[in-house]
Each structure stands twice: as structure tokens, then as C-alpha cells.
């Protein structure tokens, strides 16, 4: 019964396929304000936008900065500094304390 892996761990991932999105996912309407387009363009690849209203309205400016920094530095979101500034300003103005 005992078998040794020769081909390596890539075998683990054979026969699977990625699902692009959860079935039945409905678009989340963020507040219409300057910067909303940058939020949609940069954030939705990894998560739906319901994460934003869900975490409101209790984060202050430092709190939203911390979340944004975590997304970029910890989770590796490829957001350029100019967009990050716009996104931060949008979150603070529309979903801040």
C-alpha cells in the first residue's frame, strides 16, 4: 500500500479546476463618490466589495489605512501608490467613522 511520491507535490493539484466566482454572486453597489472606480478596479479580483460596508462604519482613518496596507503588504494586492491613495481617501470619506 505504501507508495513513494516521485513526481513531486504537483500531483496533488491534478484534476482540479478553479471556480471564478461563487455561484449566485450579486454585484455590490458601493457609494458613488470619487475613487469608487479605483476600488472596483483594484479590489474585486480577490474579494467581493461587501467586505467594505461590512467593516463600516467604525474604522477611523488610521483603521482604513491599516486595512489597505495589510491588503498590499501582507496579501500582495498589486495596487500602485497613486491608486492606493485614492482608495484610502474613498474608504475614509465614505465608510469611515
Amino acid at each position: 500500500m505504501r507508495s513513494i511520491i516521485i513526481a513531486g507535490l504537483s500531483a496533488t493539484f491534478c484534476g482540479v479546476f478553479a471556480m471564478a466566482a461563487a455561484a449566485g454572486e450579486k454585484p455590490i453597489q458601493l457609494k458613488k463618490a470619487p475613487g469608487a472606480d479605483k476600488v472596483e478596479a483594484n479590489c474585486t479580483a480577490c474579494h467581493t466589495l461587501d467586505y467594505i460596508p461590512m467593516n463600516s462604519t467604525f474604522l477611523n482613518a488610521a483603521g482604513w489605512d491599516a486595512e489597505l496596507t495589510k491588503m498590499i503588504n501582507v496579501f500582495g494586492a498589486p495596487i500602485n501608490p497613486a491608486d492606493a491613495k485614492i482608495i484610502g481617501d474613498y474608504l475614509k470619506a465614505n465608510y469611515g467613522q
Binding site: 505504501r2 507535490l9 496533488t12 491534478c14 466566482a21 461587501d50 474604522l59
Partner: protein
């Protein structure tokens, strides 16, 4: 935004609107009506209350959707009235959004690592040839009730339903590890599943257990849940089951297990799922991961939930009203659930229901006399067999874990 469909679904889960005495006209807007229809706790962040909707993932009943992708769905309280939670009502929690649909025929579980004597790759059939064990156990997200924290902390803003109890059947992780053999220097068992982040730089969800817990007789590589294959959203075809410990260790779609001789340093162990040292009454330690200031979350704290009534429900004055619910802990076993109707000044023991095992929900019920019309406040407090009891005040911690503050259920006698 409320939809006709979602409101109808909401009202269909237990005649909540009528039963709770609510009328649509009482609510300033539809979002508040929706929140009330879902029986969302009033303490949740206002934005979370507005955004949550009932939504059904494929194969699931409508659950309370907090985020579509990655999917985070909690079980409505009225579906937690039984000690065993049906698979289709069981909560769903993912960190990362790339979730492959794994096929049983091609799934493999690789086991090895520098702390193991050898390495193997098991098919599902091979896993099932190991001795099968079944354990009834509560699977509860570390952050269940995070939304009730005051002040609020960021994260998935769960209410009461990021938990469930099922009969998990599978092979002992210990027996799987015996197939490769542990070196004497083995320190932690590291494991991961097939789900991953959308961008390459996102830290993969990888967890570890101390060898002592991984080799406990009740820690499983489970492939059945309540007598059926695991639902996709709960980890098909196999997941790690760690009775007594929070769900962060219950890796779904598990595909790789490595034995290591040094503390695992990935993000999900070293930075996430940590609690301050010394604040919580927990016994189980994960020594190789401890620092001077924090430690990985380990076992669940003792807790209970009144499930028989919606908060604010109307009952008939002049008789006895039976309140009931469920209690659980880390596996020491529930010793008692006490009920108070006077704001916690006096307590009386509830009747405990069937014992499905020390890791399972323990049901309880109690008749409360409500001879007068007016407002009643019912509190439930569980105590376990090593004398631990629920917190009377919130124990603050940065990530919002271990909420077990004694709950107060408001009933209106008319």
C-alpha cells in the same frame, strides 16, 4: 439592497417577521427591515447589518451571506435548534477566493516532511482503508460573534452562527502519520488545502498543530459529515477535524501534510489567529508557537446560545415558556447550564438534553414562568466540568476571538 426574493426567503425561515412582532412599517428603510428579518444582532456594525442577505450556495439552504467571495455564510440561529447541524445548514468560511472543485477520483493526500521517516500519497480509497472513527464535534470559527465586539474590530463581522456540530467520520490523523513514521525531533504537523489566493503573493492558508494534538485519538482526516460525503463548501473530499479546537485548524480540502522539526512560520500561524497571553482561561497550549506576548488560539472557550426564540419575540402571558438552546466547550464536557431571569442575580439549573459526546453541542431547556405582561430578560450561562464558565464582560483582543459573553434574550410577554 433588499430583493423580493431575499425578503421572502428571510421570512420563510421561521415566520420571523410575524413571530417577532415586527411589521415592515416599523422600519425606517428596507435595509433595516432586512436586518430584522434575518434576526441579526443589533450589536453588529451598521454596515454589516445593511449588507447581509440570505443567499443559498449550491447545495446549501439559504444562509446569512456576509461576503460572496471568498464565501462567508453563517447559519441563522433558528437552524441551530438541534444538537446536530444539518450539512446543508452548516456555516461556510473561506479566507481565499480560488476554491477548486476537487474530484474524489483524482484527489491525493501527500504526507511527508523533514520530520517524517518517509513519504506517501494516499488516494481517498486508501484513506478509507484506515480504521474509521466517528466523533460528534463542534466546528466553530475563532471569530464567531466578532460582530458583537464593542468597540468593533475589523474582519468578517459574524453574528452567532459561524458554528455547527456534526458527526465527523474519517481516519485518525495519527494513523495517517504512522504510515510515514515521525522522527523523534518532530515538532509540528503542517498542512494545507487546495484552495488558495487569487494572486501569487497572497500567503497560502497553511496551519500547523503541535504533535501532541495532531496525534490525539480524536483528531481526524474526515471524509464524512453526518453520514454523507463532506459538502464541497465544508471541505470535500477530506478535511482535518480537531475536536475542541477552533475551526481555523479544521483545514478543508486538505491535500498536503508535512512533519516539521521547527516552528512553522507562515502568516496564518505566526501573525494571524493569535490571542494575547494570559487573558483567556484556556488549558491547551501550543508551546512551540508561543511568544512573550501572544499565542495561537487553541481550544474553544465554554459557551452557550439560546436558540428557541428570536430576540424580542412575543410570548403569551400567564403561563410557562420553555426556553432552550445549546452549550459547548473544548471537550471537557458541559457540567451545567444555568438560567437567570433577574439580570444575573439568581440562577437556576436548566435540564440538559442528550449527551452526544464531550465535543458536541449539549442541548438544554428550562421552563420560565411569565405570569405578568411585560419585558423579560433570559440569560443562559454554561459551566464545564473543569469549572470554567462564560465571561460576564467582553475580553478584548485585537482580532475579535473567543466571544463567550453571557447572552441575554429579550422576550415580551403579552
Amino acid at each position: 439592497m433588499i430583493t423580493r426574493r431575499s425578503l421572502l426567503e428571510a421570512t420563510g425561515t421561521g415566520a420571523i417577521l410575524v413571530g417577532a412582532g415586527h411589521a415592515l412599517s416599523r422600519f425606517a428603510n428596507l435595509a433595516e427591515a432586512q436586518a430584522a428579518a434575518l434576526n441579526l444582532p443589533s450589536q453588529l456594525p451598521d454596515g454589516a447589518r445593511r449588507e447581509a442577505v440570505l443567499d443559498a450556495l449550491p447545495g446549501k439552504k439559504p444562509l446569512i451571506k456576509l461576503s460572496y467571495r471568498p464565501p462567508n455564510y453563517e447559519t441563522p440561529v433558528e437552524l441551530l435548534r438541534t444538537a446536530i447541524t444539518p450539512n446543508e445548514a452548516f456555516f461556510v468560511r473561506y479566507h481565499l477566493a480560488d476554491i477548486p472543485e476537487v474530484k474524489a477520483e483524482t484527489w491525493r493526500l501527500s504526507v511527508g516532511g523533514e520530520g517524517a521517516d518517509g513519504e506517501i500519497s494516499l488516494s481517498l480509497d486508501e484513506l478509507k482503508q484506515l480504521p474509521a472513527v466517528e466523533v460528534a464535534a463542534v466546528c466553530q470559527c475563532s471569530g464567531n460573534r466578532r460582530g458583537l465586539f464593542e468597540p468593533h474590530v475589523p474582519g468578517v463581522e459574524w453574528g452567532y452562527g459561524a458554528m455547527g456540530c456534526a458527526r465527523w467520520k474519517g481516519a485518525r490523523l495519527k494513523d495517517v502519520l504512522d504510515r510515514v513514521g515521525l522522527k523523534k525531533e518532530a515538532l509540528e504537523i503542517v498542512y494545507s488545502g487546495t484552495d488558495k489566493g487569487v494572486v501569487d503573493k497572497t500567503p497560502d492558508f497553511v496551519k500547523s498543530l503541535p504533535v501532541w494534538k495532531a496525534t490525539d485519538n480524536t483528531t481526524l482526516v474526515a471524509y464524512e459529515m453526518n453520514g454523507k460525503p463532506l459538502p464541497h463548501w465544508n471541505g470535500f473530499p477530506a478535511r482535518i477535524v480537531v475536536p475542541g479546537w477552533t475551526a481555523t485548524y479544521w483545514m478543508k480540502h486538505v491535500s498536503k501534510i508535512s512533519v516539521v522539526t521547527k516552528p512553522y512560520e507562515g502568516f496564518w500561524m505566526k501573525s494571524a489567529y493569535r490571542i494575547p497571553v494570559g487573558k483567556f482561561p484556556v488549558v491547551a497550549r501550543f508551546a512551540s508557537q508561543e511568544t512573550a506576548v501572544n499565542t495561537p488560539i487553541t481550544e474553544m472557550v465554554v459557551n452557550s446560545l439560546l436558540t428557541s426564540h428570536i430576540n424580542g419575540a412575543t410570548v403569551k402571558a400567564g403561563g410557562k415558556v420553555t426556553v432552550s438552546g445549546i452549550a459547548w466547550d473544548a471537550g471537557y464536557g458541559i457540567n451545567a447550564v444555568d438560567i437567570s431571569t433577574d439580570g444575573g442575580n439568581s440562577w437556576i439549573a436548566a435540564t440538559l438534553g442528550e449527551d452526544l459526546g464531550r465535543f458536541a453541542f449539549r442541548s438544554f431547556s428550562h421552563g420560565v414562568t411569565m405570569s405578568l405582561k411585560g419585558n423579560y430578560q433570559i440569560m443562559a450561562r454554561a459551566t464545564n466540568k473543569i469549572g470554567q464558565s462564560q465571561a460576564s464582560a467582553l475580553i478584548a483582543n485585537p482580532a475579535g476571538y473567543h466571544h463567550n459573553v453571557i447572552q441575554t434574550l429579550h422576550l415580551v410577554s403579552v
